[in-house]
Amino acid sequence: MIKYLLTFLALLGIGYMFFPLVMEFSTPTRLNPLAEAYVSSSVNDLNMPNVVTAIVVSYRGLDTLGEVTVLFLATAGVGFLLRKRNHEAIFRRQGSEILRIGASFLAPLIIVFGVYIFTHGHLSPGGGFQGGVVMASGILLMVLACKEFSFSHNLIHFVESLSGVGYVLMALTGLLLIGFDSFLDPRFLPKGEWLSLFSSGAVPIIYSLIGLKVGSELSSVIDSMQTGGEK
């Protein structure tokens, strides 16, 4: 009884903490100056329609670099905790013929769609994270449908390392080519035409590298969760 009372009091306290936020909140009617500055420099400086991508990749690029690091550490942690004890294949039931053929026909289409999402991150909604997850779901389809499907771990690790190194190299290239204070500045490539694929500096390349990295990391998370450290 006393436990329920304490829980109730704790929840009430948390609710009270949010009370001023909810009560004094009024929906703003125009952008604040920071967002205004981001929007105008995204359009004029970088020639990029999607302002969210401009913030994620360019203005707050250091956050994204840190986030990719967090994702990498979490993946490494999952892989370490659920590592396979011996290398025997664990028993799984074989999917039926229709399922296997349908999956192996659909998975490449899903992966091409993921590539489309992250190469057009600067033009339309979407980007590296979403595209990477779509690619990982294609891999998941293959893992679920085909018993004998073991996506090459070497390929996955190669893609992951290559895209990680490429991302840092892109960041350093800005430092070398533009100036001392321009880590992660994508403006060393030409701005390009409005609404064309090769535009807004190096942003499409950086976002593609992020997409490949997220996709390969989530694929290896799925693989670790699937084997689950069977003895």
Binding site: N50, V52, T53, I117, P125, G126, G127, F129, Q130, V133, V134, A136, S137, L140, L218, V221, I222, M225, Q226, G228, G229
Partner: protein, 82 residues
Amino acid sequence: MPNLFALILLAVLSILAAIYAVLTKKTLNAVIASGIISLSASIIYLILAAPDVAMTEATIGAGLTTVVFLYALKHVKGGEDD
């Protein structure tokens, strides 16, 4: 106005699903309910004019998180231990 109606509907749906996720006896049902919360949240983001966030929430929150939970449930034999 139809947007407001949809918002109310989705907000109520997500809160009901959250309460169900807490109160239900079966862990599997709780996992599916948390997937429903993420899905309705992603439609709310779409109505609030944040399509990037909506895409991310739909793919990650409703898709991959549920799959990861289900794989985990497979390894803890359903997880009915409450």
